[in-house]
Amino acid sequence: MTFQEENPSGISKADIIVGIPSYNEAGGIAHTTEQAALGLKENFSQMASVIINCDNTSTDGTGQAFMNAESHGIPKISIATPRGIRGKGNNLKNLFRKVLDMDAKAAIVVEANLRSISPVWIRNLGEPLFKDFAFVSPLYVRHKYDGTITNNIAYPLSRCLYGRRVRQPIGGDCGLSSQMAGIFLKSPLWDEDVSQFGIDIWMSTLAVNEGLPVCQAFLGKPKISTTKPKDPALDMGPMFRHMVVTLFNLMNAFTNKWTTTKWSKPTAIFGVGISDVEAPPALKVSKDRLYMKFREGFNTHWDVYRTLFSSENLQKIREIASLDLDHFEMPVPVWARILFDCAIGYRRKILDRSRLLEVLIPLHYGMTLSFVNKTEGMSHHQAEEFLEDLCLVFEQSKPYLIYRWDQ
């Protein structure tokens, strides 16, 4: 795939790049660009830097808004996928190419619609790349009910599989060295889901499996975008599908790694000690809707569950479906085995793959409701501890997955 480029300053080399992937983000990209420019000026002034907008040929004037944004003297380049080619992954693939073409040492990726981004984000995502780290994953302050896909699936599953505690493996913002960009660009594991929203879990998973040093950057602030915070009971967008499919595909690719991995190790954190730590905004959860969606899914998909889940799991799911809203609970070992069974079903092609995801979504709503019921009276830190215990259950349950994987 080629890209169209607008490079008014004729920049051909840079030490550090900030890449901003976008599609129709005219309303937010100017703020992100200005904050990124301030971050580069304040923290990397000795280096040649450039900000690159990696766009999907937006139709709302994103390109123009980027080019008009204040960048405090930092040059800007705009690159775009050919018309009709969409996907965050495709935008980042273009960025990886630019990192190598421009002989850059490091790149920082920040999303285009960030309201809470500050120059500190650029420092913390970028500095570790000049201290031997190859990939920097973000660590935001998040509301306990924000990021349910991360909390229920991405974090516990990737942690128990690959043995690294990377808390926000699908955070969306990150830092990467040129070596890492080269690995991403040459990887044979690229596919259509990765070219869309699967890119975030794909990058995190490859990074921890390549054996290069990975760290987390504490960003101090919650991730607030120009879109409203989402009630976890709302319909799942395409991100759910792309992320889960990518996670399952990578399980096939890295079987030798995860089957020999036991327990997990922490991942270093860069940037703790930031003074302006902010509490995340409140998030309303519609428990009634979560319950209804779980029950509807149970009634609709029961026959499919019988082909997908082990008999012990089936019995438990039936029991859970009989619980009323206030007493609703999905025991963590059951949830872990549901995900493991889905991964096995995906591998064996027991179901059409899109059907399998359709079946998993109501169960994910059930797990979210269970998490809300359990952690309602808890502080942020208590909820984090609860989640750590949840991850430990996944790690303890892993022999079940290994045993059934090749059966």
Partner: protein, 121 residues
């Protein structure tokens, strides 16, 4: 034989841990604070570090950050009399967190677990 480096400013804790852990078959080295920790690690080459948090001359959470900047994968177990430090974000860079007790069962369990952990390089 696995080697454990115990970093604690209280002498009786160092002696207790050394005695109990040696009985379990570990080789134990001790340090009375976190100053110069990287040199001690280089010298002793431990398989696990047990690190106190509230020490007179250093803060274990800062020492942990110092260790992590150089030794990404060295298992570190925070061992404090105070459970409250567990909510400090810096503590998540540790492999485990144990609240100090005269009964070392929990600590021994965590040591065994971190030594058993296998993560591909």
């Amino acid at each position: 034989m696995s080697k454990i480096l115990v970093v604690d400013d209280e002498k009786h804790i160092r002696l207790l841990y050394a005695e109990e852990l040696e009985e379990e078959g570990y080789d134990v080295a001790t340090a009375s604070d976190g100053i110069g920790i990287l040199e001690r690690i280089e010298e002793e080459e431990p398989d696990v570090v047990i690190l106190d948090i509230k020490m007179v001359s250093s803060n274990g959470l800062d020492v942990l950050q110092e260790i992590r900047n150089k030794y990404y994968n060295l298992p570190v177990i925070l061992c404090s009399a105070y459970g409250s430090y567990k909510v400090d974000i810096k503590s998540i860079a540790a492999d485990a967190y144990v609240v100090k007790s005269s009964d070392l069962t929990e600590l021994k369990k965590k040591i065994a677990q971190v030594l058993e952990t296998t993560v591909p390089a």
